[in-house]
């Protein structure tokens, strides 16, 4: 369904970040993309969703195709219309809008507005908590509530493929379990394929069918999730199960100072 071949991405014309990444997401599957901070996971997702353009990034080599058609020249909103929605890292919401308005914004790409009411109910079915919050301004929601909201907002667009960027980041273990359970349910119910970027390898592999491991802008390992969970290196680096390996601190996310520009 989604095919990435040898993709190279350069920021600001000089910074080479992806050095020939290849991966594929088959229809209906959940695929994990694992890797440490700065490996290039977010860049990969942005290359797919077209958001790279907003950060002076460019796909300079390779191809990204969705259902056989190249998409890397399209703008972000066109890619959403094609059925790919990215759920951004850090779960940004439209803070001045209510939860329901946020969800409605998610339906912006739909031509047909007649099903929006039932779509809202469908989202509230997955996330009953959002229904309680529907009139609440989003800026004050908790991390977990925001994560639910951004996934719900993405679902409103009826995506065939969802790109999820570190949904577990900074959430309590209980909340992480809850979110991942819903991601799995959505995958089953809606037949939505997922490309799941995570540092929390354990929880990602537990719901995904297949996994890729990224290091320094390259894919260094690829296997079924079951075998990856057995892999010694993975255990050591990502599952924190080795003797000396302290568990990763998920709060250590780097924030890049983007050049100040408008829209782009």
């Amino acid at each position: 369904m989604l095919n990435i071949e040898n993709v190279e991405v350069i920021y600001s014309d000089v910074i080479l970040v992806l050095k020939g990444v290849s991966l594929n997401v088959p229809a209906g599957k959940i695929i994990s993309l694992l890797g440490a901070n700065g490996a290039g996971k977010t860049t990969t997702l942005k290359a797919i969703s077209g958001l790279l353009h907003t950060e002076l990034g460019q796909v300079t080599d390779g191809s990204i195709t969705f259902d056989g058609k190249p998409i890397h020249k399209l703008g972000p909103e066109e890619i959403v219309r094609k059925g790919i929605v990215q759920v951004l890292e850090g779960r940004p919401t439209f803070e001045q809008l209510t939860t329901e308005e946020n969800l409605l914004v998610g339906a912006s790409s739909l031509k047909d507005k007649s099903n929006i009411k039932s779509d809202l109910d469908r989202i509230y079915g997955y996330f009953p908590r959002l229904k309680e919050l529907r009139k609440r301004i989003s800026g004050y929601l908790s991390g977990g509530e925001k994560q639910m909201q951004v996934i719900g907002r993405a679902l409103m667009a009826h995506p065939q493929l969802m790109l999820l960027d570190e949904p577990s980041l900074g959430l309590s273990p209980l909340m992480v379990d809850q979110i991942f359970e819903i991601i799995e349910t959505i995958n089953v119910n809606e037949k939505t394929s997922m490309l799941l970027v995570e540092q929390n390898a354990m929880v990602a592999l537990s719901i995904s069918h297949h996994g890729f491991v990224m290091e320094n802008g390259r894919i260094v390992m690829e296997d079924t999730s079951v075998s990856l969970m057995q892999n010694e290196d993975i255990k050591e680096f990502y599952l924190g199960l080795s003797s000396g390996g302290a568990r990763k601190n998920y709060r250590d996310v780097k924030h890049y100072r983007r050049r100040k520009r408008w829209l782009a």
């Binding site: 969703s49 077209g50 958001l51 907003t54 703008g75 972000p76 909103e77 959403v80 219309r81 929605v85 990215q86 951004l88 940004p92 439209f94 803070e95 001045q96 809008l97 308005e101 409605l104 914004v105 998610g106 912006s108 790409s109 507005k113 301004i137 800026g139 004050y140 907002r153 667009a157 100040k260 520009r261 408008w262 829209l263 782009a264």
Partner: protein
């Protein structure tokens, strides 16, 4: 006391028109983060188009109005498409300078057309005055004010209840997020320029009806900018209040001080306010607070 009421009422009525000009600048800023000076000319040309339709071509009022709105919208569209859109990705200051260039460019044409003369509409709003317990109210000014308030009501409803309005609010909050939600942000930019140009053109007609069409008209755009900044640049309600406040302050200060100081207080008052805002409350009275969870 009657003096005070007289100054205050006139101030409020004129302030409603300032608010309309201010809100057009707020609309553009909210959606695109660009502060537009070009709207001063869009205002002046709107007033001029209406005069041409009404008094040169002798069209009925509503045809003249529709014609003016369409032309102004077209002008806004062209301005956005050919001067602002190519700058997407450049710094906001560049975009601001561009709107200044557009202002100066159009200013030449405006002066050329007027060639030092002044034009006045043949009456198209109710004329004369009425007396409200000692306070004399101009029917023309009251009608313009009412129209301005109706436009504000329409804007509020548009942003609150329509899908496009919601998408515009989303866009004004976060361009990248809006794009990732499937909103055509560039389309929103164009649309907001069209809407704001139509709004400011109506404001221009209303202002010209009070002060006639002569050269300083484009500089009402500067008053609009003062209103927009006073109101916090991001808030439609803020622009409304700030416009009325500016009208009040202008009229009260000139009402009481023009005599002793020999006139001209009105415009000075506006610029004093601008300076004070910049110094004391750079985010205006109603600038949006960033939501911070603690």
């Amino acid at each position: 006391m009657v003096d005070f009421m007289q100054f205050a009422i006139n101030g409020i009525l004129v302030g409603g028109l300032y608010a309309l000009v201010g809100v057009s600048i707020v609309l553009v800023f909210k959606a695109t983060q660009v502060v537009s000076l070009a709207h001063g000319q869009l205002l002046a040309f709107g007033a001029l188009f209406f005069w041409i339709f009404l008094d040169q071509l002798n069209f009925p009022v509503w045809v003249a109005l529709l014609g003016t709105i369409s032309l102004a919208a077209l002008m806004g569209f062209i301005t956005e498409r050919f001067t602002i859109r190519p700058l997407i990705g450049e710094s906001l200051f560049t975009a601001f300078l561009m709107t200044f260039s557009v202002f100066m460019f159009l200013d030449g044409f405006f002066q050329l057309y007027l060639s030092g003369q002044s034009r006045a509409y043949s009456p198209f709003l109710p004329e004369g005055t009425f007396n409200l317990s000692g306070v004399i109210i101009s029917k023309g000014l009251l009608s313009s004010f009412t129209i301005a308030m109706l436009i504000f009501a329409a804007l509020f409803a548009f942003f609150k209840f329509t899908r496009t309005g919601l998408q515009m609010r989303a866009t004004s909050e976060n361009h990248i997020l809006a794009q990732s939600a499937g909103i055509g942000v560039k389309k929103v930019f164009t649309l907001i320029w069209i809407i704001s140009s139509a709004v400011v053109a109506i404001g221009g007609i209303a202002c010209a009806n009070v002060m006639d069409i002569h050269y300083p008209l484009p500089y009402i755009g500067i008053k609009g900018l003062i209103v927009a900044m006073f109101g916090g640049l991001e808030s439609i309600g803020g622009a409304l209040l700030a416009g009325i406040l500016l009208g009040l302050i202008e009229n009260l200060s000139s009402g009481y001080l023009d005599g002793p100081l020999g006139g001209g207080v009105k415009d000075a008052a506006a610029y004093v306010i601008l300076l004070l805002i910049l110094i004391v409350k750079p985010y205006g009275l109603f600038g949006l607070k960033k939501i911070e969870r603690i």
